[in-house]
């Protein structure tokens, strides 16, 4: 080993083969033995580790015919040294809802990628796509046609609808308040055109979470976050609560005291919930899943506008529709989405996310445009400043209403 390290051309990266956590360096090295792209990636990466800067140049526009996204162009700044990564584009393959696979399906992808790319992947990208990490321009069309022949399509990049993603929902979670997988699949198919062809001012992300635990981080990472919730009472199995208590759960301090609305009480025998106050935070249910369950009158809260910090500072999504039933064919939701996209298309500046646009025009203005009623659930608190854009006033003569 010590001997080998001495000869190594990648002494810095070699260090990252050590340690208990599985090593990405080992992943690259294993491919490097058979795949020249992977080999040159390793070499260039070692150079970055030495120089402490990236050696990738600004991406160029590359893609497959008729699509405006799905491929991230990437070029080495040292193609002389690393000719096999002179081009090193990634391909975003739209994952199935909830990242469920069969081994058969995955093997098919591997075979295509073995033939046409670096053999390296990200499972998955943080938007949700399968990311095939690095190939050259001439391989793009072949890969695309092979993928589609096996039933796969590209995900989004650029000013398009980005690949929607979701938590696993009803497939394996008892908390899911609507069918996140079905909705994700439906929206993805419904909006194929805007996913593949840039028609928006900037990117748009959908993320669907089955309940307020938000296991897909939708509130932080999606222009529209669809988070399941219920309207009726938390379902309580008192026997099971007592079981938990018996097995060591301190129902008072671990459950009641941590309820953010302080709407629970426990007398040692019965757990009482003042459901009108419950804000559906999930804590009590999370802590005692055998005893408590969300109600049966379920749907979702629609939130809007999350994004990363460039340029106005990061945003979390905020409440747009406090409660909506989420059932096929999802007409209410789709109508809403279309209205918002129309407004964004008309008023959004280039590279302006919907959340930024709403801040710029004002939430009230936005609601009016998309014909949604304002509701106190949308806000933490009403305005604190008195700078109100009242819209009507009476004309001097008292003859009628003016308006701005």
């Amino acid at each position: 080993m010590a001997n080998e390290a001495k000869k190594s051309t990648t002494p810095l990266l070699d260090d990252l083969e050590k340690g208990k956590w599985p090593s990405f360096v080992r992943e690259i090295k294993k491919m490097a033995d058979k795949n020249p792209r992977a080999k040159d990636l390793l070499g260039q990466l070692e150079m970055s580790y030495r120089d402490k800067v990236t050696h990738w140049k600004h991406g160029g526009l590359v893609g497959v015919r008729g699509y405006g996204g799905g491929v991230i162009g990437r070029y080495s700044d040292s193609p002389d040294k690393f000719p096999n990564v002179a081009h090193f584009h990634t391909i975003r393959v739209n994952q199935p809802s909830g990242w469920f696979y069969t081994s058969k399906a995955l093997r098919e992808i591997c075979d295509i990628w073995e033939q046409h790319g670096s053999g390296l992947t990200n499972m998955h990208g943080s938007t949700g796509d399968m990311v095939l990490l690095g190939t050259s321009t001439d391989n793009l069309e072949p890969i695309f046609s092979k993928l589609t022949s096996k039933g796969w399509d590209l995900g989004g990049s650029g000013s398009v609808l980005r690949t929607p993603s979701c938590c696993l929902g009803k497939a394996r979670c008892e908390f899911a308040c609507y069918d996140t997988l079905a909705l994700t699949n439906d929206l993805t198919h419904e909006f194929q055109d805007v996913l593949h062809r840039p028609q928006f001012p900037y990117k748009w992300k959908f993320k669907m979470a089955g309940c307020p635990n938000d296991c897909v981080a939708s509130v932080a990472r999606a222009d529209m976050s669809i988070i399941g919730r219920w309207k009726d009472d938390v379902r309580v199995d008192q026997d099971a609560v007592r079981e938990y208590a018996k097995s060591g759960v301190n129902v008072q301090t671990e459950i009641c005291d941590l309820c953010p609305t302080q709407c629970m009480s426990w007398d040692g025998r019965e757990l009482k919930i003042e459901n009108t106050w419950c804000n559906k935070c999930m804590h009590c249910i999370n802590a005692m899943p055998k005893a408590l369950r969300p109600g049966k009158d379920t749907g979702a809260t629609i939130l809007i506008g999350a994004k990363a910090p460039i340029l106005q500072g990061a945003e979390l999504s905020s409440v747009l529709v406090p409660f909506m039933k989420i059932e096929p064919p999802y007409k209410e939701l789709k109508d809403l989405v279309e209205k918002i996209w129309d407004f964004w298309g008309e008023y959004g500046k280039n590279r302006e996310r919907i959340g930024e646009l709403i801040q710029r025009v004002g939430m009230g203005q936005f609601l009016e445009a998309i014909e949604l009623p304002p509701s106190p659930q949308m806000i933490k608190n009403p305005r604190e400043n008195p700078f109100i854009f009242y819209e009507e006033y009476f004309e001097e003569e008292g003859s009628g209403e003016g308006s701005k």
């Binding site: 992943e27 992977a38 402490k52 399509d153 497939a171 938000d214 999370n286």
Partner: protein
Amino acid sequence: MESVQAEQRRTDIGPPNYENFLHPVIKKNYGTWKYHEILKPGVLVHVSETGEKIYTVRMGSPRLINIETIRMICDLADKYSDGYLRFTSRHNVEFLMTDQSKIDPLISEIESKGYPVGGTGKSITNIVHTQGWVHCHTPATDASGIVKSVMDELYDYFRTMKLPAKLRIALACCLNMCGAVHCSDIAILGVHRRPPKILSNLNKLCEVPTTVASCPTGAIAPAVVDGVQTVEVNEEKCMFCGNCYTMCPAMPLANSLNDGVSIWVGGKVSNARHAPMFSKLAIPYIPNNPPRWPEVVDAVKNIVEIYAKNAKKYERLGEWIERIGWSRFFDMTGIEFTKYHIDDYRFAATTYNTSTHFTL
């Protein structure tokens, strides 16, 4: 060869339907799950109203994996979970199985290949991260290398569930923040600290007005140098966001001497108990020190350990800090409080302490 396929060229078919990939037991019990239990770290059981059960074994992954590894995972799925598997929203692999007796053998086999099982419950699960020097053109640091170094050190927290609550770490290699870095219990964020250099071929690569407009602080102004249209940067006004470089390749910020990482704490995403929160600045700058970024690893570990020792059960890192107060957080962690910690961007005024509520 390709032309043949071009004739049959299909587009806009969308992803395959997830239903094709669901384990039969999942399909049968879809939407009827009643409760779950964590049997041990990395192992869940979900029980249906019908009494049927599905077991899940969660395996840690470096996310950047090669096709051999994927095929190895497929082999495991074939052997233990009827060929069904999934990935999680944090890049772990989950085997979905019906035969409880296969769980331990699967775990042994996973571990024998050098992958851990865990990441459930009150643990530190996989670090959500980005491309870094592996594939991006704007990073201020690498992604995978830091993730590997940190997880080597926190390995035990992945395989146990001994924390007060979940602790979610994320890394992004530049201010674009590809990931939920802005809402993580601990976030590692690559930062540039040198204003963009202006390359002499700027006029060929970029439009001057777009480039000028790209700067949120108005630091960029048109200029003429040696008779050529270009731009100049008022360094006083630059806060290194990198947006100019995104818009114009002739304005690189990356720099070996100045790039590095910052550490952020206390964000969360779930609505459990406390509403979602942004992460807040803990350490403004640590220089890049590849291959193992020891100062970063120490900083993260220090925060994790002090949190682990002091927080109450169920208290996420941000909830704990909110309870004890930020002055105490800085005290306890020994992290220096600097002027950089005080917000001076758009909403700065909303972060000032307008009360006498604090401890000394």
